[in-house]
Symmetry: C2
Subunit: 338 residues, 2 copies
């Protein structure tokens, strides 16, 4: 009773299994009398088809894999929310592969397309090598990158060079010349996140355009956490000639900077300007000036791209570039005159 099969239904309705399958899949070639009989039998037996068997014979899993590093970080949560929203209208479920080590990253990249667990892959921030990208393409696994890019794969990119430029330029516009930058790990990062290099690039470009010399002492990098950012900001702010403004790679790190300022009794924004990046939900509450990247939307667009690619596998790689926006709140102001 618990688990009736399609054969039980067929027997009870006095038809063949093919017919039952046709009724289930809304094939038109079934007379309405037969359809009626089958539906009655289905109801009587409280039958529901086994998705696993369906998948096996269809060769599709109706599941999407999402590979995300540190999926509990606020920015990934926002992106996932977008993915969830886009997928909730479809027939697809998603499985999260959380990545916190390089070994795990490599395992995921290698195993997930091979095991036929998923019909498509959404990869966040992690950038595949050329080899890996070709491997995805050749294995026929529809793959979409969010927050990174590769010329052979569809992707939703955030223009982080522009974002970094925007943040720095905002500080310059306010009159700052001594602008610190607290970054995520640049070289030593095991993952080589693309946005890390890009925002740094934007920072350098804005300085150069304004004719401000880059002062290496003002650039600090460390693991992405409030605690570490607080430590680094403390270092910056206790330099003999400290910066008057700090651009932080992420809102989370900006909060660490704010804390350091508080520790040292510096008033924000009067004595120190701080700008973050991401515009995560809590940023508004804390009045943080920041660069908004459309996190939620990046998830939605990425998922849509992937669904399109699954239903139409031959399409050429698409690129979506999402802009960034300056959100001015209360942590930036002109520097004090000296």
């Amino acid at each position: 009773m618990a688990n009736a099969t399609i054969r039980d239904v067929a027997k009870r309705a006095g038809v063949g299994v093919g017919t039952v399958s046709r009724v289930l899949n809304d094939s038109t070639a079934v007379s309405s009398a037969t359809r009626q009989k089958v539906q009655t039998a289905i109801a009587e037996l409280n039958y529901s088809p086994s998705p696993i068997a369906r998948r096996l014979s269809l060769g599709r899993t109706m599941t999407i894999g999402v590979i995300a590093p540190f999926f509990i970080r606020p920015s990934y949560v926002e992106r996932l929310r977008g993915v969830e929203a886009a997928l909730s209208n479809s027939e697809y479920d998603f499985i999260i592969y959380n990545v916190e080590t390089v070994a795990r990253r490599n395992d995921c990249f290698h195993d997930v397309p091979r095991q036929e667990r998923v019909d498509g892959l959404l990869i966040m921030t992690l950038t595949p090598t050329d080899e890996e990208a070709d491997y995805f393409v050749q294995s026929g696994m529809p793959t979409v990158l969010i927050d990174s890019s590769h010329r052979h794969l569809s992707h939703v990119m955030i223009d982080d060079v522009a974002g970094g430029y925007q943040a720095t330029q905002h500080l310059i516009d306010l009159g700052h010349r001594k602008i610190g930058y607290i970054s995520d790990l640049l070289q030593e990062s095991p993952f080589g996140f693309r946005p890390v290099a890009n925002r740094y690039e934007g920072y350098l470009q804005a300085l150069a355009h304004a004719g401000i010399e880059f002062y290496p002492e003002y650039h600090r990098q460390g693991e992405l956490s409030r605690r570490e950012a607080r430590r680094l900001a403390h270092e910056l702010l206790t330099l003999p000639d400290p910066p008057t403004a700090i651009f932080a790679y992420s809102d989370t790190q900006a909060f660490g900077v704010l804390r350091a300022a508080q520790d040292l009794g510096l008033k924000v924004p009067e004595q120190l300007s701080v700008i973050g990046y991401d515009d995560i939900e809590i940023a508004e509450f804390l009045h943080l000036t920041t660069i908004r990247q459309h996190l939620y939307e990046s998830g939605v667009r990425g998922a849509e791209l992937l669904l399109g690619e699954i239903s139409n596998p031959l399409s050429r790689p698409q690129e979506i570039v999402l802009p960034t926006t300056l959100v001015e709140r209360d942590t930036t102001a002109p520097p004090l005159l000296c």
Copy 2:
């Protein structure tokens, strides 16, 4: 080449499919010479077994379903992190079923056990009715509740009555007598979250034990969001005889209260004490006094319970109760003397 099957491997190795299967599953009854041959063939064909086929014949999905309302709320993210950590050591994946409407809740409760998509179910905060619980039991679906309870199902409960009591008692200990409470929706909530009733109960008990009369005007309820909490706090604080302390159902709501205080120019904690609930990550940064419930741990313990139940289905329902802890920071203090 892309997708070799077990039969290809068997042919190439010159053995039967049963033997290949035995090698794959580390059955002992294979001579080492044969094992060698098979492994060579596997390597040559770059073969990896299809999990779907495996699931069909095994009748197991190696996947766990997690039903979570509003999974992007910080407290659920923390719990999920615990689940992910516990599951990452196992062979199981997990699928998130996000619930934001009652219809969706009912769908999930009804369909997920029936479709054989998952081997076990982890349900957060949502409380099954007796009927639903029996349905889970009868369908043989191992089910564990986190942050709610039912006598027929294993669960990880947070002692929210004690937590509500603790929060209120802390304010009383400081000398407050006029204590407001801003709650999640109590009656009208479509989900009937258990913790909502429990924390309120704790609040009432603490007041009663201290001989403080409950003053209905001091109790407000509204949708769980910062914005709504800010509005409600504003109402409370502009009463003719406003409370000197406010207990908020969640940290998120406490932040709304803090904002309302700021709007009205009230100093915290001098003129208003605020205590939250959850101890989400950002609470420490904002120096919020709060009640810590062990969110991450609740996820870990729940997942462990479920894995145990899957491997040993006959066990009786277990109960784990996690305590709550008062975390004193800088948003509570004795009231001003009048």
